[in-house]
């Protein structure tokens, strides 16, 4: 699946998107964040405070316990500041 990163999350990881292949036991958004956090220092820094992370699965907002299922695209970003 494709992982997308925006704003401060993108800056800390140093990538705007990448292909990822999480193992089968990674089922929820929260578990995916924990799995990504172990990929390196930038990821650990980006996800250090889970309360400041929002996620979207296939372009819809998703709660931490939402399943990632067969998602094509999962995105991570800080709370939004549009409008």
């Amino acid at each position: 699946m494709k992982a997308l990163y925006f704003a401060r999350v993108r800056e800390r990881i140093g990538l705007s998107e990448e292909e990822i292949a999480p193992p089968g036991e990674v089922v929820t958004v929260r578990q995916l964040i924990e799995w990504l956090s172990r990929r390196g220092d930038g990821y650990a820094a980006a996800f250090a405070n889970p309360a400041t992370i929002r996620a979207a699965v296939d372009k819809r907002h998703a709660a931490p316990d939402a399943p990632i299922g067969a998602a094509r695209e999962v995105a991570f970003f800080p709370p939004m500041t549009g409008g």
């Binding site: 997308l4 925006f6 401060r8 819809r60 800080p78 939004m80 500041t81 549009g82 409008g83």
Partner: protein, 155 residues
Amino acid sequence: MTPQPAPSVRVQADDFDVAHEQALLTQGRRDIGALVSFVGLCRDEDGALEALELEHYPGMAEAEISRVAVEALERWPLQGLTVIHRFGQIRPGEQIVLVLTAARHRADAFAAAEFLMDYLKTRAPFWKKERRAGGAPGDWISAKSEDDSAAERWR
């Protein structure tokens, strides 16, 4: 019961013309009694902001604004609805976002416009980063808890 109008939702780098957008919404209509327009501007509070860089999530930004627009149409009897949100570099004084709501009566148009802005603030995937005068990079604008409480009151 008249069918719900299709909302016009656009996410673009270019500026928009409020009068033109109002005309598009009302042309040929004799049944609209109230047209509310809200424009959000880029503001500089301490004279040190050169511009805001608005990052967005292409595809999701349009989809999420459309979902909020459909929700507004379900809650209020609107006759027309336009939302335009810009991305990219926006300087102080320039327009960032437009919400237009048309209804038979003003109460519905006002309420729907306020609902749309409250929800856009907390749900539309946009992030603002400051660029300070002289080109120095500034910080990301922090999300405000008032925005969350403003959105919560519509639940």
